[in-house]
Symmetry: C2
DNA sequence: CTGAAAGCGCTTACAG
DNA sequence: CTGAAAGCGCTTACAG
């Protein structure tokens, strides 16, 4: 039992709970003597008083939390960094970021009610009724990239598309026929689909043949098999779903005695630490996390402040990191 | 405003709020006709009623949340998987896992009050007063590996020690003098220290010279510099802080024209996907996440059930994954 | 400038 | 078998 309530602070400092509340929540409108304010604050810290968030949430209908809903698989260092930066950005305004892994696997509905967050940021689309309920409860709902409209599941994400396009633009400089290394983990298919479409779009624009899609697991065997197949088709450029998959392709080529980029070029996505350390160093598409995090934070804060106009979208912040593999 | 309260459900189904509460929280002690139960439940779902977690938390002083406090840097795939498994394990009992990144950087005190969690799991030591306050509030506080005692910051973590020891045991088979590849990121020093101590302990036991500690950043340059220095000292086995650092060492050796494991063996930690894809495939120490997650979940649930005895510790679940680099 | 009082939505003894 | 009522701790019109 922590047990220190605002009533304790009031009694101890000889004022009413009203005054305690006014002093502690910092309402400037009310005139309270500087002396009283000082005394209340002093008592509060002396008693170790911290307001009950549950009571406050019940009363005001809102907490100081921002809830991030992640998919139910390990999201990798990029998202992790994003979360971290977002938390930093928001903590200055008294907002805490809470992350829930496992969207999809576990029911979401209870969670946002349990937290009554100020905003919810989804890293994968929400179910229609979840979305509606959150909106009705007055919660700000944001998509990954600050897309305020709920992304239509059938509509490709513009930034995923851009990722694939950047990969293809890089590869088509030297390669005519492209391969696409599809991730083995089925849960990644949503993103893979859109990235692949980006590759396809560029191929179509340049009148190149369709990219040949092959699944690549995170082991040498699986990758070597794909590499052999691509090789047989005369393919000399591979766009991989992400760096992990790209690293597998590199290992597969090595196992097959092929040299990169001479025999075949490879481009990844994410720029994980291992990318620059690979042999050859991996060319990859990187997202500038800071920009993204700052934009997300700005959106949340704009809503918090009841700002009329939203901050402008900073663009996708994607760029190619050219190294040796392509 | 969602606005559907238990009162609405009560009115709509012609019973009192008491009855609604009894039916929905599933108290078996009270005798309520099956017919009434059915009607209440039906009305609740029809109206889309979900109890206010804030009110429930205020009333009972407890929510159905388990709060995990992570350090303020990207924790890597191992912890991510652990979190995910833990969430799965706990969701069966109606508990949701919420993760907070950024321990240290941002104030913790407000957070656990805002969430009133059932349990808090810390992946880095808590401040003494935070710990005290949480215990006082009746919150179960657990360490990373289910260590129920608050780890003494000056006392090495037994499992970190074991990690280093496993690395050293593997390397000392062939190498006499060892090097330790220390992570460039200062925030990792807490763990690096204990892993290094594990290496030192084995070296001492075998009457080998002290390992030579050198910082290694996640780039070829930095690693190559360290490799040259170790080389000059006649060192032929390197224990790396984790797989990322080990990959850097491998890249550094490659840059220096050295061959692994012939010129020098390397052992990492974590078994990230890139480890098995490296050239040569990286020998590494792996933690069995499932065991760890299940144990953590069991601890939380035992407390929830008011069990007298705690589940037995499953051991550290560490093992060496032998591949080609050592 | 400060206090008494209502009410957020729930759970739970307690009385019928 | 079911309901009226208290109370969790807070905020905030409202009245002095």
């Amino acid at each position: 039992m922590a047990g220190i309530t605002s009533a304790d602070v009031a009694r101890e400092s000889g004022v009413s709970r009203t005054t305690v509340s006014y002093v502690l929540t910092g309402r400037d409108g009310v005139n309270i003597s500087e002396e009283t304010r000082r005394r209340v604050r002093e008592t509060a810290t002396r008693l170790g008083y911290a307001p009950s968030a549950a009571a406050r949430a019940l009363r005001t209908g809102r907490s100081d939390l921002v809830l991030c809903i992640l998919p139910d698989w390990p999201v990798g260092p990029v998202i992790e960094t994003l979360l971290d930066e977002l938390a930093d950005e928001l903590s200055g305004r008294g907002l805490s970021v809470l992350v829930h892994h496992g969207r999809g696997a576990r029911p979401l509905s209870d969670l946002w009610r349990a937290v009554t967050p100020r905003a919810v940021i989804g890293f994968a689309p929400f179910a229609e009724d979840d979305l509606l309920a959150m909106r009705q409860a007055g919660i700000q709902v944001l998509g990954t990239l600050g897309e305020d409209r709920q992304p239509d599941p059938d509509l490709p994400s513009e930034s995923q598309l851009r990722i694939g396009a950047l990969q293809a633009e890089c590869l088509t400089v030297r390669a005519t026929r492209l391969g696409y290394a599809w991730p083995a983990d089925a849960r990644l298919a949503v993103f893979a689909r859109d990235r692949l479409r980006g590759v396809q779009r560029i191929c179509a624009e340049l009148d190149r043949p369709e990219p040949v899609v092959l699944p690549v697991g995170l082991d040498v065997e699986s990758a070597a098999e794909a590499v052999r197949a691509w090789r047989g088709l005369g393919i000399t450029g591979i766009a991989a779903y992400n760096d992990d998959v790209a690293l597998a392709v590199l290992a597969g080529m090595r196992a097959e005695g092929l040299s990169c980029p001479d025999d075949c070029a490879v481009v990844g996505v994410d720029d994980v630490p291992a990318a620059r350390l690979a042999a050859p160093a991996l060319t990859t598409v990187s997202q500038s996390i800071e920009v993204q995090a700052r934009y997300l934070a700005a959106l949340v804060l704009a809503d918090l402040d009841g700002a009329a106009e939203k901050p402008g979208h900073p663009g996708h912040g994607l760029h190619l990191v050219e190294r040796d593999s392509a």
